[in-house]
C-alpha cells in the first residue's frame, strides 16, 4: 500500500463526512479484490461521496497530488476492473444510488451511478417498462459498473448491451471537471465520446449520473427448457434456431457440470440431471409472434433429438427456470473451492467445434470446466474449477487463456461483457496489433493524460504498472 501524505488526507477529510473516509487496513481489506479473486491490490484510502460535486473535488485533489483513483460500485467486476493494483483512492458509489427521474414520455430514467441495475426495472415495472441489460449480478451491480464494462446479460441478444441503452451521462474528467455527454435528444453533435466510455473499464473518466433507455414490457413472454444428450446437440440447436430466422430474446446453455451444481444448490430449477446440456430459450413480443416463435423453437429442438422439452406454464415456472441460470455462478462452490470464469465470444456457427475444444482443454489440464453461457450471442462462460490451496492456480490461468485462444482463432474475441480490466490487459495483443492499440492509447491520453483514472487497466502499458501474478501471457 502506498502511503498518502497527511496533507492529502486532511484535504480529503474536508470533502466528505468523517465517517465516509476509510483509511484503516481492516476497512480497506474489502477493496483488495472484486469479482476476480485471483489478483489483489490494496487501496490507500476509500471515500464514499454523496454528490457529484464531492466526487469532482476528490478527483481534483487526487489530480493535484498525482494519486490514482478508482470508481467502484458493488465490486462485482469479473475482470478486476476495480482492483487497486497501484494503491490510490477508491471512490465508492454506495451512497450515490438514487433514481433521480423517471421520464416515461421519453422512455428514459436518470440515475446516480451507484444505482443497482435491477432497482431500475423494479421502479418502472408498475408503469409497464423495464431496463433491458440484465447481468447475473443485477441485484447488486451498479449502473456505473455496467457502463464501465458495457455489461450485457441473457436478454442482450434482442435488446443490446449497456451501450445501446445509454443515452447520456454526467462525467468527471481526471482533472475534476464535470460535464455532460449527450442529452435527451437522440443524435449527439460531434464525436460519440459517450460510447467510448461504455466498456472503457472506468479508465477514461468517472460517470456520476446516467440517462438510460427504458423499454415497454413485451405483450407476452414465454420461456422453455430443452434438454439434450450432448452439448453438441444443444449447440447445433442454437445455430438452427438463429438460422431459421427466429429471434428469441434469450438463448442460454448449461452443460452437465453446471446442471449438477445448480440442482444441488438452493437455486435448483428442476433441470434434468441426466442431460448432457440444457437450453433455456425465451421468446417475447406480440402474443401471435411469441406463439409462432416458440412453436418453431420446439420443432427445431425435437429435430435435434431433444430428450425433454418443457414450456413454462406460468410466471412461477418461468422464474424458477431462470433462477437456476441466474444462480449458476453462485453454485460453483459445489464443484470446487475456486474458479475462473471466462468470457470469450465466437461466431455462433462455431459453437459445437469450440465446445468440443474446451472439453479437450479440460482433459489436458485435468481441471473441471463447467459451461454456462449466452449461446444465442456466441458469448461463452467456461468456468475453470481449481483449488488454489493445491497450487492449481497457474494451471487454471493457463487453461483459461487457452479457452480464449481458441475463440480468437475462429474470429472471435476475448471478452463479450466482463471487460478487459487487469485480467486480460496483457492478452490484448491477441486480438489487436500495435496500431490498433496505439489508437486506443490516443483516446486514453486525451481523457487522462496523467494516467490517474483507474491506472494499469485495459491497455498493456508495460513497465509503469505493477507486475501481475500469475502472468496471464499467452502466445499469440
Amino acid at each position: 500500500m502506498k502511503e498518502l501524505s497527511p496533507e492529502f488526507l486532511q484535504e480529503l477529510k474536508a470533502i466528505v463526512e468523517p465517517t465516509s473516509l476509510l483509511t484503516r487496513p481492516e476497512e480497506l481489506l474489502v477493496y483488495d479484490q472484486d469479482g476476480l479473486t485471483i489478483y489483489k491490490g490494496r487501496a490507500s484510502a476509500a471515500v464514499l461521496p454523496r454528490t457529484t460535486e464531492q466526487v469532482a473535488k476528490i478527483v481534483a485533489l487526487c489530480n493535484k497530488h498525482k494519486v490514482p483513483f478508482i470508481a467502484r460500485g458493488a465490486g462485482t467486476s469479473l475482470s478486476g476492473g476495480t482492483i487497486p493494483t497501484e494503491g490510490g483512492v477508491i471512490i465508492e458509489f454506495a451512497l450515490m444510488n438514487h433514481i433521480l427521474e423517471v421520464d416515461l414520455e421519453n422512455g428514459l430514467v436518470l440515475v446516480e451511478a451507484g444505482t443497482a441495475n435491477l432497482s431500475i426495472s423494479e421502479k418502472v415495472a408498475a408503469s409497464g417498462y423495464f431496463y433491458a441489460p440484465d447481468p447475473s449480478s443485477q441485484l447488486v451491480c451498479t449502473i456505473g459498473g455496467n457502463i464501465s464494462h458495457n455489461s450485457g446479460g441473457p436478454h442482450t441478444l434482442k435488446y443490446g448491451v449497456t451501450t445501446h441503452n445509454l443515452v447520456a451521462a454526467e462525467i468527471i474528467l481526471a482533472n475534476g471537471e464535470i460535464f455532460w455527454l449527450g442529452s435527451k435528444a437522440p443524435d449527439r453533435i460531434g464525436y460519440d465520446l459517450l460510447s467510448l466510455l461504455a466498456g472503457s473499464d472506468g479508465t477514461l473518466a468517472i460517470v456520476t449520473k446516467a440517462l438510460l433507455k427504458i423499454i415497454p414490457k413485451p405483450q407476452d413472454v414465454r420461456t422453455m427448457m430443452a434438454s439434450f444428450e450432448t452439448p453438441e446437440d444443444a449447440s447445433r440447436t442454437v445455430s438452427n434456431i438463429i438460422a431459421a430466422g427466429v429471434l428469441p430474446s434469450a438463448v442460454e446453455m448449461m452443460d452437465d457440470l453446471v446442471i449438477g451444481a445448480v440442482e444441488d444448490s438452493i437455486h435448483a430449477a428442476g433441470y434434468p440431471r441426466d442431460a448432457g446440456a440444457v437450453l433455456l430459450v425465451e421468446v417475447d413480443g406480440r402474443i401471435e409472434d411469441v406463439e409462432d416463435g416458440i412453436g418453431k423453437v420446439l420443432k427445431i429442438c425435437r429435430a435435434n433429438s431433444a430428450k425433454q422439452v418443457k414450456v413454462a406454464a406460468d410466471e412461477h415456472e418461468r422464474k424458477k427456470l431462470w433462477a437456476g441460470r441466474k444462480g449458476a455462478f453462485a453454485s460453483m462452490g459445489r464443484l470446487g473451492p475456486n474458479y475462473i470464469v471466462q468470457d470469450g465470444v465466437i461466431p455462433r456457427t462455431k459453437l459445437p467445434e469450440i465446445l468440443a475444444k474446451i472439453y479437450q482443454i479440460s482433459n489436458h489440464y485435468s481441471l473441471k470446466i463447467a459451461n454456462v453461457f449466452h449461446a444465442g450471442d456466441g458469448n461463452l462462460h467456461p468456468l475453470i474449477i481449481y483449488d488454489a490451496a493445491k497450487g492449481e492456480t497457474e494451471k487454471a490461468v493457463r487453461a483459461s487463456g487457452e479457452t480464449l485462444k481458441i475463440c480468437v482463432d475462429v474470429g472471435g474475441t476475448i471478452t463479450g461483457e466482463h471487460g478487459i480490466g487487469i485480467e486480460k490487459r496483457d492478452l490484448m495483443p491477441m486480438i489487436f496489433n500495435g496500431v490498433d492499440l496505439d489508437m486506443m492509447m490516443k483516446v486514453k491520453e486525451t481523457f487522462d493524460p496523467e494516467r490517474l483514472c483507474n491506472p494499469c487497466k485495459t491497455l498493456p502499458f508495460g513497465s509503469r504498472c505493477a507486475e501481475l501474478f500469475p502472468s496471464p501471457k499467452i502466445e499469440k
Binding site: G128, P186, L193, G378, T413
Partner: protein, 429 residues
C-alpha cells in the same frame, strides 16, 4: 503530387467538386496500399483530402477549409464474408446499400438501415450516421456496426471492434468513426449485424389535420401492446407524392402518420387493425405485405428527390410535435417536405423552392431561430445537404458541445496536420 502512387487511378476532376471547391486530383486507389500511399503523400505535404463514396451526402457539414484531392471508394465494393447463420456480414466500405441489400435478400436477411439514399455506400452511411424510419425500432448505425478497418492520416491501418455480436475488448473506437464524416480516417471495411426478414409486414396510414390529435393517439398506441418498427409523420408535400399507395381523396389532409409492423402474418394484421381502431374517426388505410414494403420504398424514393437543401432536427421525443410546429411556422415560403421519426425524436425537412443568392441570408436567420429552439430543449439542428451560399450564413452544426475540447484533442491526435475533411466537422474540426 499523387501521380506516382502505384495502383491508383487518376480520375478526371471535371465532374467533382465539394461546396464549389475543385480538387486538384481525384484518386481511385485500387487497393489498400495505394490508399495509404496517397494518404501518406497528403500528410507529409500537409494537403487536404476528402473521401467520397457515392457522394449522396457530400455537402454535409461546413465548407472545407482546404481540398487537394478527393479519394473515391469505387474499387472497394466487395462483400468480403457473409455467414447467414451467424447473422453477420463483412463488407468493403464502397459497397452500395442497394447492392448489400440484394446479397442479403438472397438469404432472406436484411439490414434494418433505410436512409434516404439507396445509392449511398456503407462507408458513407457510417460516416454520416444516416438512419431512416426503421430507427424507431432497430436504432441507428451504432446498433449494427460490430467492427471497422480504418486508414488513418499517417497511412497506417487500424481495426476496431470485431466480427462477433458482443465485444468489450478495449475502447470501442468503432463508435468514434460513426458520424465523424471522415475526419478521423477513411473506413475501409465494416462488419455488420444483419437480421432475418420478417415473415410478413403491414402498414397503417392515418390521415389527420391537427398535430394535437396525433399526440394523444401516440400515447394510446404505446399502451396497447402494438410495437411498430417505424412510426413516421409525413407532411402533405411528402405523402401526396405517394399516389400509388394513398387514396386520392386524402389530399385535403395535413399529415399522414405511417406505422409499420413486422412479424408473423397474424401478428402484423392484428397490430395494424388494433392501431386502426384507436384512430377511430380518422381516415385510415391498411397496407399488407408488398403493399406495405412498396409504400416505404416509394417513400424513400420520393423524399430523396431533389434534396439539395435539407436539415435534420434531433430533439427529445416529447418535444417533437413542437419542433414540427416551429418548422412549419418558419418555413412555409420554402414549401418544406417534412418527415419525422416520432418515437425517436428526429425530424427531417428539405426545401423545395429554388433559391437565389440573396434569399440565403433570410433563410439563415430563420434557421438560426429554429436552431435556438432545438438547442433550448436539449437538441440540435444540423445541415444534411446545403449549397455553399447558405453555409456562408449558417454554420452546419450549431453550438459546440461542452466536451468539444476532448473532441479537438482526439482529432489532433488522429490527424495532427488536419488533412482529413478539413474544417468540415463540428467547431471546424
Amino acid at each position: 503530387m499523387f501521380s506516382h502512387v502505384p495502383n491508383c487511378e487518376s480520375v478526371d476532376t471535371k465532374k467533382y467538386s465539394i461546396d464549389g471547391l475543385k480538387p486538384h486530383s481525384v484518386l481511385a486507389p485500387k487497393d489498400y496500399e495505394s490508399m495509404t500511399n496517397a494518404l501518406q503523400i497528403a500528410d507529409s505535404n500537409k494537403v487536404a483530402v476528402c473521401f467520397q463514396g457515392s457522394g449522396t451526402k457530400i455537402s454535409m457539414g461546413n465548407v472545407l477549409t482546404k481540398l487537394a484531392a478527393i479519394i473515391l471508394a469505387k474499387y472497394f465494393p466487395k462483400c468480403l464474408d457473409y455467414v447467414p447463420e451467424d447473422l453477420t456480414v463483412s463488407v468493403q466500405a464502397g459497397i452500395k446499400l442497394k447492392d448489400l441489400k440484394k446479397i442479403l435478400a438472397k438469404k432472406n436477411q436484411f439490414i434494418p438501415l433505410d436512409p434516404l439514399f439507396l445509392e449511398a455506400t456503407v462507408g458513407g452511411i457510417i460516416s454520416t450516421n444516416s438512419t431512416g424510419p426503421l430507427a424507431a425500432s432497430y436504432g441507428s448505425v451504432k446498433n449494427f456496426l460490430l467492427g471497422v478497418k480504418v486508414a488513418h492520416a499517417d497511412g497506417r491501418i487500424s481495426k476496431a471492434g470485431g466480427k462477433v455480436v458482443k465485444n468489450v475488448a478495449g475502447y470501442d473506437l468503432t463508435k468514434l468513426y460513426i458520424g465523424a464524416i471522415g475526419t478521423l480516417g477513411c473506413i475501409l471495411e465494416a462488419n455488420l449485424k444483419v437480421y432475418p426478414v420478417p415473415e410478413s409486414e403491414s402498414t397503417l396510414l392515418i390521415f389527420v389535420n391537427e398535430i394535437d390529435g396525433i399526440q394523444q393517439y401516440t400515447k394510446k398506441l404505446l399502451s396497447v401492446g402494438t410495437s411498430p418498427v417505424a412510426f413516421e409523420l409525413l407532411n402533405g408535400e411528402v405523402f401526396t407524392a405517394l399516389s400509388k399507395y394513398v387514396p386520392r381523396e386524402v389530399v385535403e389532409y395535413s399529415y399522414c402518420i405511417a406505422l409499420r409492423f413486422f412479424g408473423s402474418h397474424p401478428s402484423v394484421t392484428n397490430q395494424a387493425r388494433e392501431a386502426e381502431k384507436l384512430a377511430f374517426g380518422h381516415k385510415t388505410e391498411v397496407l399488407l405485405r408488398e403493399g406495405s414494403s412498396g409504400f416505404w420504398e416509394s417513400f424513400i424514393e420520393k423524399v430523396s428527390e431533389k434534396r439539395t437543401v435539407s436539415f435534420k432536427v434531433s430533439v427529445p421525443r416529447n418535444t417533437i410535435f413542437e419542433a414540427i410546429g416551429k418548422v412549419e411556422e418558419a418555413m412555409p415560403f420554402y414549401v418544406p417536405k417534412i418527415h419525422a421519426e416520432l418515437s425517436v425524436g428526429l425530424l427531417h425537412f428539405s426545401l423545395q423552392r429554388d433559391l437565389q443568392h440573396p434569399d440565403y441570408q433570410l433563410l439563415a436567420k430563420k434557421l438560426l431561430d429554429l436552431r435556438k429552439h432545438c438547442e433550448e430543449v436539449g437538441g440540435n439542428l444540423t445541415i444534411e445537404t446545403a449549397p455553399k451560399a447558405l453555409k456562408e450564413h449558417f454554420e452546419a452544426w450549431g453550438t459546440v458541445p461542452p466536451a468539444f475540447f476532448l473532441m479537438k484533442s482526439i482529432k489532433h491526435k488522429f490527424d495532427p496536420n488536419s488533412i482529413l475533411s478539413s474544417g468540415r466537422f463540428v467547431g471546424g474540426l
